[in-house]
Symmetry: C2
Subunit: 221 residues, 2 copies
């Protein structure tokens, strides 16, 4: 069995790779709040276990086996986040931290029960896809909110999960995945968005909008 630390490394590599980032020792170390030398050490072990590929000084990638492990952990994590949110009412800005600890500890049996209680969901509270038991991730084609134009309507599909203060703010605005809104105005020169959420006008800065992804974009009539 793998250690928690090894699981965290694999998960981080997968998530960085998923974002399209070239994964380096330094970036990985920064992500994991660890010094680069420590990352080198763990990568050496993961390479010996054939979970990670990396030629000296080159890019880091997962092997098929490593990808399977990473997706297992991510599945645990996202199912737990959703469970904490829906079944126990944990505020969504806190579920990430909680799930981070539980994901390494939950049994397959408990995971299946959680999955069943939730009705076999496909996305976590932030809208991120939950891989299935075989490690298959549903491909999504969400659009960054920053690309929206005046008078378009859409539905929140996903938001970044790494800034808890931002999540709290979005929660107060009810900008959860599934919430529909309409763009009332976009200020010129990369300015903020004014949107209508359930009849209330709200101004959303560009920095915030960058963390929101939407779907079902349509021109309001």
């Amino acid at each position: 069995m793998l250690t928690h630390a090894a699981e965290d490394y694999l998960k981080s590599i997968y998530k960085l790779q998923e974002k399209g980032t070239k994964v380096s020792t330094g970036l990985l170390a920064e992500t994991l709040n660890v010094k680069p030398a420590s990352a080198t050490g763990m990568l050496k072990k993961l390479k010996a276990m054939k979970l990670v590929c990396q030629e000296r000084y080159q890019e880091i990638t997962l092997t098929e086996a490593g990808r399977v492990v990473a997706l297992e952990i991510i599945r645990h994590h996202r199912l737990l986040e959703l469970y904490l949110f829906k079944a126990l009412g944990v505020p969504w800005e806190n579920v990430h931290e909680e799930a981070e600890k539980l994901e390494h500890v939950i049994s397959e049996d408990v995971e299946e029960r959680i999955d069943a209680v939730l009705g076999y969901p496909t996305a976590d509270p932030h809208g991120a896809p939950i891989p299935d038991k075989n490690g298959v991730v549903a491909q999504t084609a969400y659009i960054p909110m920053t690309t929206l134009r005046k008078a378009q309507t859409c539905v929140v599909a996903e938001v970044s999960d790494n800034d808890s203060a931002l999540l709290q703010y979005l929660g107060e605005l009810n900008l959860y995945p599934g919430t529909a809104f309409r763009v009332l105005d976009v200020a010129p020169f990369e300015g903020p968005f004014t949107i209508d959420i359930a009849g209330h006008p709200v101004v959303i800065g560009r920095e915030v909008a960058k963390h929101i992804y939407v779907a079902d974009v349509q021109e309001a009539k």
Copy 2:
């Protein structure tokens, strides 16, 4: 913060002490599946942290601070057991093992939510008392089933939680805490019990009966 290992030591000391056992290095080591030398090492650290008292070669006891930590962990454990059993339907012979891993990882916030969802319960699925947030344990006066005589009725109050095969067996007989039964007969010379559970006669061996504690004992008319 304490390590998981330290927490496990404190919990084991408390539970052994609670059973009335004099806690020694060897017994503690055996309980924790660790060699005596390892227990000596950890006890040294716990003594330095003023969580444990022990004079060289003498009995091991908890300090007040150590007792508080032990009861916190036991509260986590028992609440988790009950939650897994009631909310997720985990068979009661498996909840101990699951809770063993979760108890070190759960946050106070999640624990409070679990407590609320369960309606602030006072006993785990095996009937063991759940300490309150302040470390107060309700005192119980349960009677060993082995002391029952013919024609007495009672209610199962608590069963030992350390033998999962036994728990599975008792579960099949529906001998959960709360279940009422009547003693139909006690075979002579320390023989087995024949009891009536919901109209069905069942024979319970003495070795099994030793692990069952009952309350509300009355003479059937």
